[in-house]
């Protein structure tokens, strides 16, 4: 058993020799620790970071915690033991990551949190690269309202919320309400569906809301990954129609995943707010390098993201990570 592991290790060690720089002594090593790879978004983010590191000729060591905060803490300590030069972390949540950040701080290893910021804690230093959830949601919903206005009728709206323990979900909810405020002549919010980031709960909630208000014609989902649930509920209520059809429900989302891309291509989705994974990956690596160069790095770097819709799909799809899932 140990021999097999040793052989695997040799394979792993062999990878380093393939590095094109040829100068191992000067090559920096970055630890990349993700909480999970269970959704397309995290896989896309993971691959984008590794590609960015490779592009800059940096070594990478990776660790996935499988949703276990205790394991993630061990993995960060392991990175410290390995004397990595920097760490990119997707934490399990904003609070259980504090001891991990402290461990990196104590070892003077710069640490960047990808897409999830840490809670405020005295003396704990990190940089977070996060989407501007509120702004991007507001822009997406504003675009949807413009589409709704063109129909010339008043729309009843449904908001599908995420897990309200997640700061990202709260930002998206706030962005939705920022956009609909003052637009009561076009959109009236009649349903809030709490999904807790669970597809089954989302589906049951959307079905119930459509039964209570069958004339709902405007839906914003706080994440694209809930679209399969939304679509199933709309189909069973015979309300899933393409744009331009009189029965079309104005649909919008957030993330920019592969399902949303396909729905845009097929003409069912009006718009989605795309988290620019490539921008976030680039900024994460740059922040680490700036820290190592003793440059000033802000505590939060915001990804403005962009709204993608039928009008700019061809132009923007190359930066929509969902359009690139599965491509190599």
């Amino acid at each position: 058993m140990a021999a097999v592991l040793a052989a695997l290790c040799l394979v792993g060690c062999g990878k380093k020799a393939e590095n094109p720089s040829g100068d191992q002594s000067k090559q920096l090593t970055i630890g990349v620790a993700f909480e999970t790879l269970q959704t397309e978004y995290w896989v896309a983010g993971f691959e984008a970071i590794k590609a960015e590191l490779k592009k800059r000729n940096l070594n990478v060591v990776e660790a996935i915690a499988d949703g276990d905060a205790n394991r993630q803490l061990q993995q960060i300590r392991t990175f410290v033991t390995r004397k990595v030069d920097g760490i990119v972390l997707v934490p399990k949540d904003s609070k259980t990551c504090i001891p991990a950040i402290k461990a990196a701080n104590e070892a003077n290893i710069p640490i960047v949190l990808f897409n999830r910021p840490a809670a405020e804690s005295p003396g704990v230093k990190s940089t977070a690269v996060v989407a501007d959830n509120r702004k991007l949601s507001r822009e997406t919903v504003e675009f949807m309202i413009e589409q709704a206005r063109k129909t010339g009728k008043k729309h009843k709206a449904m908001l599908i919320m995420g897990d309200l323990g997640d700061i990202n979900a709260i930002g998206r909810k706030d962005g939705f309400y920022d956009a609909v405020k003052g637009q009561e002549s076009v959109v009236e919010v009649v349903a809030e569906v709490p999904s807790e980031w669970n597809q089954e709960k989302a589906r049951a909630g959307v079905v119930n809301a459509l039964q209570a208000s069958p004339d709902i014609s405007f839906i914003f989902s706080s994440s694209d990954f809930l679209f399969p649930s939304v679509v199933a509920a709309l189909k069973s209520a015979n309300k899933y129609h393409k744009m331009g059809d009189p029965g079309h429900v104005v649909l919008g989302g957030f993330d920019g995943d592969a399902t949303a891309y396909q729905m845009l291509v097929d003409g069912y989705l009006d718009a989605t707010g795309v988290q620019d994974v490539y921008f976030e990956a680039e900024q994460s690596v740059q922040a680490l390098l700036d820290s190592l160069a003793k440059k000033e790095v802000p505590a939060v770097i915001l990804d403005p993201g962009f709204v993608i819709h039928q009008g700019n799909l061809a132009e923007k799809k190359s930066r929509m990570w969902g359009a690139n899932v599965g491509k190599k």
Binding site: M1, A2, A3, V4, L5, A6, L8, C9, L10, G12, C13, L37, V61, E62, A63, I64, D66, G67, D68, A69, N70, R71, L73, Q74, Q75, R77, T78, V80, T81, R82, K83, D93, S94, K95, T96, I98, P99, A119, S121, D163, L164, G165, D166, E196
Partner: protein, 316 residues
């Protein structure tokens, strides 16, 4: 010599030693002092919960709710002690009350499981599966999915000062070992696991002993929750949610039979140590995630096969 080693009760320990020595040359920092501390910090809470599971498995039972108990105890303790929103925020008694409440949650869960299994005659798998589901939901409802930070420094030290966490875990291990190996109660546990009907005929209070085993499993889960929660400085309704199979795997690798009547605390210690070594070494090797998952499964399967082969040889 090799055969004697193979048939030894300490097979898993020898596996740990061989594994450790074999990987040192290939795994940067594996034997460093800081890494050994990392391994120890990781395994201590797992070890404590595994102790309770060992007692339950020895009577031929199972407790699937131990990790949910950890989560519930974690948020109850957090709600009491947190300086941000704790019921006793800032009070001098916050830490002792919080710790007592966490242990009490564990005991209460043990009482519920023990009552369901021994008095209501619900199969242990179903009884603890349902309490696991109920308690997981309860912990999330109780906090509305929020994590609880701001835990007092005096409490956090229990998980983060390694000597203190080690002392707690060592004390729990010694207690479990003493109960199992040196007391009449321990012998009754084995007897029930071998044949509960024969144990009953022999005058052993089977129901009361089995009930106590579940209560002890709950108590150890509560203690483990203290180490988890203090180590991560957070009351978390999802604490240890994905650790159940790791813990059960470690106990079984350590030689405890899923059918009851067999197992030792020292074996559980070695089982947890083996899993922690594998986990740590795979992180240090820098293999990709998919390889790590497959190799970990393969290594554990290999250890289980070796143990099964050893048992077969011993019987023959």
């Amino acid at each position: 010599m090799l055969k004697r080693l193979f048939l030894s009760d300490y097979l898993v320990l020898w596996l740990c030693v061989v594994y450790f020595i074999a990987l040192i040359p290939f795994t940067p920092g594996f034997a460093s002092w800081s890494n050994l501390q990392t391994i120890l910090a990781y395994l201590l809470p797992l070890l404590v919960v595994a102790l309770g599971l060992t007692l339950v498995l020895i009577i031929g039972g199972i407790d699937l709710s131990v990790t949910s108990t950890i989560a519930l105890a974690s948020v109850v303790g957090g709600k009491i002690m947190s300086s941000e929103a704790g019921w006793l925020a800032g009070s001098a008694v916050a830490v002792p009350v919080g710790i007592a409440a966490m242990l009490l949650v564990g005991v209460m869960m043990g009482v519920v499981n023990g009552f369901a299994v021994t008095q209501c005659r619900i199969p242990a798998f179903i009884a603890t599966l349902t309490t696991m589901m109920f308690v997981s939901g309860l912990a999330i409802w109780f906090t509305q999915s929020q994590k609880i930070g701001g835990l007092p420094a005096g409490f956090v030290a229990l998980g983060q000062k390694l000597w203190l966490a080690t002392a707690i875990a060592a004390g729990a291990t010694w207690l479990a070992h003493y109960v199992l190996a040196r007391t009449l109660f321990g012998r009754w546990l084995y007897a029930i696991g071998h044949n509960s009907r024969a144990a009953l005929v022999s005058g052993i209070p089977v129901q009361r002993v089995a009930f106590a085993a579940y209560v002890l499993a709950g108590l150890f889960a509560g203690l483990s929750s203290i180490l988890f929660t203090a180590g991560l400085e957070t009351g978390n309704p999802e604490m240890a949610r994905d650790n159940l199979l790791d813990v059960a795997g470690a106990v079984v690798i350590g030689g405890t039979s899923l059918y009851g009547g067999k197992g030792r605390i020292i074996g559980t210690v070695f089982g947890v140590l083996f899993l922690a070594l594998v986990d740590n070494s795979l992180n240090l090797l820098g293999l990709n995630f998919y390889t790590v998952t497959m190799v970990k499964g393969g290594v554990i399967l290999g250890a289980a096969l070796l143990d099964a082969l050893r048992n077969k040889l011993l019987i023959s």
